[in-house]
């Protein structure tokens, strides 16, 4: 509960990052920098086929190579499959391979070079089997079935309200089939004045973190398994590993390391379990670092999706119902995500007043790279479809796309399309603030187009957060927590929140990330959850510590605890006598009562406040080449209290540019199931040359669900950007792109087609 009052001495300040000096001097330790005595290096051999039976594997020559300590194949490791919900991925392929890049054998050797030389000596005979790459094709009765055996499902396959979830239904290759209904969409569409239907395709993109997946595993003589891994949720990763390898959680120590970018992609164990078995076999600690090639071809990129939307309108161009269907291509394994499907489906009816809504979501196996989570999983795919569809309807009705959105925008008092009630609905206000800064109505030059897109999402709320605050005899506080900082600045935010609760300066607060043996369960980073859940855990601990301090103050001031007043500067007073925090703690220490600690915890509850964003893009299209130049953007956000303006703006800018990549240049290109955009020369991340002029608008008077009215920002700016740009391309030259990314080639083809038709 947001009960503490804000002084703004710490929260709201552009405080320097607590991990900052180490990061600018190269002293920060990432998993790849971990060195332990006796460390050797693991590499793995991967399948060249999308679907094949392994006939035989001969590892004799590899084992004989000097410097090789262990060679493993599927028969050398336990016959278990693991996963974050669906436990379907083997440690090494067993009998069959299901995608190009699947791990078939692994080597641990004195150096990476020797390990790679050994891989070349492994002789695998395959018998190729039929494969399927397209998700719609995979659902046909004649399609080859990837996982004919029953897949074990861990705890957590829960459908939300208005939802019917079927795991592994009798449709070929379907992992999950979710149907959500609010109202009567079929009836509403049948009675609608007009119905519009459009379909969209969004390819897979990679998270693009600069640090590839890396882990080190060391099996100690004391039975403790030490793990250093670039993973955003060490306690959850530990739980999954414990189940998979049959070692109790209290024998697994996940040690803190900084993470070189996550963007949703580093929530799985990736190579960690294989690394453990290599370490066991070699009796040496082993490091495994994926190459960038492996990341792009065999990581866990964003799900590709195909989406169809049908929207009915009444005579006043108001939406009466939406019927939506989305098919997510999950690739060969479902193991990489913690839920049955991707939460982005909940945005399929957009940020609009939709009284009747049906959403069907299918997640499907194919013989392609397994897909995982990426920043706001599922939402960019969905937002591209919805915000293109809405734009197309507006244009067909000859309405201004902005006005059409305003007319249908969700407002205070409305239920969301799926029937949730939220307060502080500032959708129109966000659109208007952005439109005004952008100059939506201002004249524009020929060849220039403008587009808008909007998105709504509440702060993430799931899992559990814990912190331990310890105050020393000088009144300084150490925050022990279990959640890593993957770059968002969470550790700095935690320090600012604690400083704010106690009226301390940042230099009086220290953040320590503990290992999984020294900290309580913490769900970790993800789904923009830490601002809310960890923020509340910190408030819980601060409240308890203040209670203890109040009792001490009462003792010191010879009064009852109820007589003590706590000032915003952290001082205590009663009946005109005042004692500051340091004097109080010093006094307590002299009586053997300090240091003292307070634990805080929070189990997430769904917030009733949400956040809105509106993006505006201006493009210039070259009719000769089809090239699209993004001239400028305005991004407007309805936010809560900003904890740290530098970090907050960093999330907005970083997310927006990530979305620009998805809009303009990024695509995991598959050929016969194999990823052919296999290095960063072919897979085009945005560079510093590719960014537009950008203006950010933050609506004043923000309200948030977390302490001090704060709210999450991490997954707001990266979702709806692509549609703002494709809508601008349509405005510029009348070309409607139904598939990402935007390329000059696609635009030119459409221009030529239009010219031919005309």
């Amino acid at each position: 509960m947001a009960t503490a009052s804000l002084t703004g001495k710490a929260v709201g300040q552009p405080a320097q990052r607590v991990d900052g000096v180490a990061k600018v001097t190269g002293r920060t330790r990432y998993a790849g920098d971990v060195d332990v005595p006796g460390l050797i290096f693991g590499r793995c051999l991967r399948s060249p086929h999308p679907s094949a039976r392994i006939v035989s594997i001969d590892v004799r020559q590899a084992k004989a190579l000097p410097g090789v300590h262990a060679v493993l194949t599927g028969t050398d490791v336990p016959d278990v499959c693991y996963g974050r919900l669906c436990r379907d991925i083997p440690i090494l392929a067993k009998g069959v391979v299901r995608f190009v890049g699947e791990k078939v054998a692994a080597v641990a050797a004195d150096s990476v070079e020797i390990a790679e030389a050994a891989l070349e000596l492994i002789d695998v005979t395959y018998e190729e089997l039929p494969a399927v790459f397209d998700a719609e094709e995979a659902m046909r009765p004649t399609a080859p079935v990837l996982h004919p055996e029953k897949v074990e499902i861990g705890p957590g396959a829960v459908a939300g309200h208005h939802a019917e979830l079927r795991m592994y239904p009798p449709i070929p290759n379907v992992i999950s089939h979710l149907t959500l209904r609010h109202g009567d969409a079929a009836g509403a569409l049948a009675g609608a004045h007009r119905v519009f239907e459009h379909s969209f395709t969004v390819p897979s993109v990679h998270q693009g973190y600069i640090e590839p997946h890396t882990c080190v595993v060391s099996v100690g003589a004391d039975g403790i398994v030490d793990v250093w891994v670039a993973n955003k949720g060490p306690h959850i990763a530990r739980a999954h590993m414990a189940v998979a390898i049959g070692v109790p959680e209290d024998r697994l120590r996940f040690n803190p390391v900084y993470i070189g970018g996550d963007f949703g992609g580093k929530g799985s164990l990736m190579d960690t379990i294989l690394c453990y078995y290599l370490a066991l076999a070699a009796r040496r600690p082993v490091k495994m670092a994926m190459t960038s090639f492996e990341e792009l071809t065999a990581g866990n990129p964003r799900h590709s999706a195909s989406i169809t939307l049908r929207t009915g309108l009444d005579r006043d161009a108001k939406i009466v119902g939406i019927d939506a269907r989305i098919v997510f291509n999950a690739g060969a394994y479902a193991a990489f995500i913690p839920g049955p499907t991707l939460h982005g489906y909940s945005e399929l009816a957009g940020t609009y007043r939709v009284p009747n809504c049906t959403i069907e979501v299918l997640r499907v196996y194919t013989n392609t790279v397994p897909r995982g989570h990426m920043r706001s999983p599922g939402a960019p795919q969905v937002a591209f479809a919805v915000e293109s569809h809405i734009d197309m309807i507006a244009h067909e009705l000859r309405l201004d796309p902005l006005e059409f959105r305003r007319r249908n925008a969700i407002v205070e008092g409305d239920l969301t399309p799926l029937g949730d009630r939220r307060r502080h609905m500032r959708c129109r206000e966000t659109i208007d603030a952005g439109a005004s800064a952008f100059g939506w109505d201002k004249p524009k030059a020929p060849g220039v187009g403008r587009g808008v897109s909007i998105y709504e999402h509440p702060s993430g709320a799931f899992g559990r957060s814990t912190v331990l605050l310890t105050m020393d005899k000088d009144g300084r506080i150490t925050i022990l927590l279990g959640a890593p900082d993957q770059g968002t600045g969470f550790h700095t935010m935690a320090a600012q929140l604690v400083a704010e609760h106690f009226g301390l300066s940042m230099s009086e607060v220290e953040v320590v990330q503990g290992d999984t043996l020294s900290t309580d369960f913490e769900s970790g980073a993800g789904g923009q959850r830490l601002t809310l859940t960890a923020g509340q855990a910190i408030a819980d601990a601060a409240g308890k510590m203040k209670e203890a301090l109040t009792a001490l103050a009462a003792e010191r001031l010879n009064c009852a605890p109820s007589d003590v007043r706590v000032g915003p500067d952290g001082s205590f007073s009663a009946f005109g006598t005042n004692i500051d925090l340091k004097s109080l703690v010093g006094w307590a220490a002299s009586r053997g009562k300090a240091p003292f600690s307070a634990e805080g915890q929070n189990t997430a509850t769904q917030p009733d406040v949400t956040g809105f964003v509106a993006h505006f893009a201006e493009v210039e299209v070259d009719r000769e080449t089809g090239q699209v130049r993004l001239r400028r953007m305005v991004t407007a956000h309805d936010v809560g209290t900003v904890i740290n303006p530098i970090l907050h703006q960093g999330q907005i800018e970083g997310g927006l540019v990530q979305a620009l990549g998805q809009a303009m240049s990024e695509q995991i290109v598959l050929k016969e199931g194999a990823v052919i955009t296999a290095h960063l020369g072919d897979y085009k991340l945005p560079t510093i040359m590719d960014i537009p002029e950008l203006e950010t608008v933050l609506l004043p008077g923000g309200v948030g669900p977390a302490p001090f009215e704060t709210a999450a920002i991490g997954e707001m700016s990266n979702v709806a950007v692509p549609a703002a740009i494709t809508n601008a391309v349509f405005d510029a030259v009348g070309v409607r792109l139904l598939e990402l990314p935007i390329s000059g080639e696609k635009v030119l083809d459409c221009l030529n087609e239009k010219a031919g038709v005309a």
């Binding site: 600069i210 640090e211 970018g261 540019v657 290095h679």
Partner: protein
Amino acid sequence: MRTVTLTVNGTPVVREVADNRLLIEFLREDLKLTGTKESCGVGVCGACTVLLDGKPVSSCLALAVHADGGAVTTIEGVAEGDRLHPLQEAFLAHGGFQCGICTPGQILAAKALLEANPHPTKAEIQHWMMGNLCRCTGYYKIIESIAAAAGAA
């Protein structure tokens, strides 16, 4: 194997290295200077950027023997003791990094820029820095940081 004689962050180094030893392996594994990061391995991302005789090079492509007789600067050699370089101060003050994995490369590339062009325009900063990818910041704050350091230097 060859003997290489060079300075690394001002310190003389004489080592035996294999002919095919990459500069990044030499720095990270032989000299334990792990501030230099490897990512793409093909000279595209710039994470492994170090300075060789003041010029930025991708240490994932350069061989250690290329540095023979030269002066290498890594991120560990940018600050003078506890006194941060103006670029490091600016990256801290302006939020020029988040996860930090590309930051050593960014700072070294920017250091070479400011030595070649002490007062770059925004466009000049963008042209010079286009070989250093960052996935966290969206680059705006990197530009701000470098511009601020140029003003302070």
